[in-house]
Symmetry: C2
Subunit: 376 residues, 2 copies
């Protein structure tokens, strides 16, 4: 599978954005985050891990995007389809790209759509944002959800990358028996599972969570403890592994030594809930409807939170499968189905799969788990 | 080595912040980023990879911090020393923590110091920030650099964690000969080097960059290509590996098969520049003085950028070794020395070490490279 996308795909993304900008009366989009900049440029680097440098992309109403970036990124940005690359020697304590950015925005004209709604962040210092507003003299507003809306509908090429990340994780999950056994500390399992993901082809592993305990785990966000696995534990590993800039995000549960009745019943219920989600996830249906289908199987604890979310260039993006989210599912959306269930007081089990919405039944991107809880 | 910090250390951090807030006339700090929240709480989770959820910490002028966070994080936050944990079921499309946060801020009182200066980001939707400002009725201003200033001076416990991350990377660098040889694609070297870091004890590997080529590499931020290593290449790997939430950030160069004269001369010059940086890096000296000491050895190309930076809970944080940065070095600061040099037209080599400023000569945290370019 080739990395990256064709220039044509990027041009189509820009054209679609510009059509929506026209309707919304926006003169420019100002993008500041890794995923938003990459979506329109193909600019892929782990250098975003350095929080001291700001990167800007302007999408004008009717011409090609303009990158305004630290000079250290110029060569890599010029290797993309973007031709207009303007740089400054960052970090500059007196003017860290502010005047370059304001000048470019003035050329393009406003109003400037800067993603400001839920799920977005302006990845730039607030003081610099105020200065850019003042120097450009333009009106700034939310991007009206244009970028998130476009990104929510994946192209076939994007879906293929997510599917590849899912397949990599599937092979790694298939090897958990090599690394997880009674006596091995959970922290070591975490380290070794990341190693397996790399061996199976992940470019990197931005996210790994999990837990282990007799009848489940207390939460799904804690770092791994040094406590060793014990016969009778259920172990859960939940990974966001990346291939060519696209995430998978799903988990698997394993019984250590032997599975208890409670574990087996919970796992079966979780798989049943996922099946209900698969049945419900049709185009035209709302996110809250899919949530309802799964919640009817696992119950709706007060803190149950969401039972799935959008997935793509970020571990989580876009819609949430909650009672409140009215987003309509459309073909090309990639989402997770992530039901959770309380097993005994204070303990939970969680199961997760990744699917893509199609015109008909959704297509599974992760290798769907069967009802039987695997024992290792 | 134990993970985490004593409650006493967190209390001292808060007391120091409150002393500075008093001088600056701030009624509260509002913190939104992983590192800033963790600095005062010890709250450590990879769940921040999910960009859809906002997390807030308020440091009042004279009482203990208040966490205002998604309910999914409540159990883990309550396991820290923080007692006042207020939650909401995120993501809530109608009110994603805004009214909870505004209410807490009103209780505490302003002015509210929100880090807004260079090197900072407000990790929350801009629309929510505006709503919190309006609902709280308080004045918002920059935090006057208080949090960055505190974080720049590491405690002995923090330095020990960075040293451990450096030692882990040192052992992995010592094994590069196992994974890098003629014919192996650079992408595979990247994957395998991350595996080595995990095997040697890294919790995870948020950052890996590098390059390879006959007399250097074109840049230090591109993703790995599929091009195989060739005899005569110089290979550079630059990693930000994490142990217990603290980064190392340094690189090593390797000659593949045999080293050329140009490579050897460049490497020797880079190590010489690092030595000059080590000589210069004394308390009371400015960042620009250390930059000058290294630039005098390697030259100051227009795009040379910075020759080092602060390091800690983030891959890069705080000061920059540039001509413009007037920051005064103080004992406890951990910085990188990162000289680069042009070898032939369009090709560079870069070398990096990690050190901590002391009352006397700086202490190396990475195992300092010798002049000889290692051949593998």
């Amino acid at each position: 599978m080739t990395r990256g996308f064709s220039d044509e795909e990027f041009r189509e993304r820009v054209a679609r954005a510009q059509a929506r900008m026209d309707k919304a009366g926006l003169g420019a989009l100002l993008l500041t985050t890794e995923a938003d900049v990459r979506y329109f440029t193909g600019y892929l680097t782990r250098f975003w891990e350095s929080p001291c440098r700001a990167w800007y992309l302007i999408v004008p109403a009717s011409s090609d995007p303009i990158a305004v970036i630290p000079s250290i990124g110029a060569a890599l940005m010029r290797a993309t389809w973007i031709n207009d690359v303007r740089t400054w020697p960052a970090p500059d304590p007196l003017d860290d790209g502010v005047s370059r950015l304001a000048e470019a925005l003035r050329e393009v004209g406003g109003p400037v759509g800067l993603p400001s709604h839920q799920g977005t962040v302006a990845r730039m210092p607030l003081a610099d944002l105020e200065a850019v507003k003042a120097q450009s003299g333009l009106t700034f507003t939310d991007d009206r959800g244009i970028v998130a809306g476009l990104r929510a509908i994946k192209s076939e090429a994007e879906i293929a990358k997510i599917a590849r990340a899912c397949a990599i994780a599937g092979r790694a999950f298939g090897r958990v028996g090599e690394i997880a056994m009674p006596g091995v500390p959970l922290s070591r399992v975490f380290r070794d599972f990341q190693r397996l993901l790399l061996e199976e082809g992940a470019d990197w592993v931005p996210y790994l969570a999990g837990g282990a305990g007799p009848e489940g785990y207390a939460d799904v966000i804690s770092p791994a403890s040094e406590a060793p696995l014990v016969v009778g534990d259920v172990l859960m590993l939940d990974t966001g592994a990346v291939w060519d800039g696209y995430f998978c995000d799903y988990d698997r549960n394993f019984a250590i030594g032997h599975a208890t009745d409670i574990q087996c019943a919970a796992h079966a219920r979780l798989v049943e809930a996922t099946q209900a989600g698969l049945e419900a996830a049709r185009p035209g249906v709302r996110a809250c409807d899919v949530w309802r289908a799964m919640a009817d199987v696992v119950g709706t604890g007060e803190d149950a939170g969401r039972l799935g979310h959008g997935l793509g260039m970020q571990l989580t993006e876009g819609l949430s499968l909650t009672a409140e989210d009215q987003t309509t599912l459309l073909p090309g959306m990639v989402i997770t189905l992530e039901p959770g269930i309380e097993t005994i007081g204070g303990k939970i089990m969680v199961h997760e799969e990744n699917i893509v919405i199609t015109e008909g039944a959704p297509r599974a991107l992760s290798p769907l788990a069967t009802v039987d809880l695997p024992t290792i």
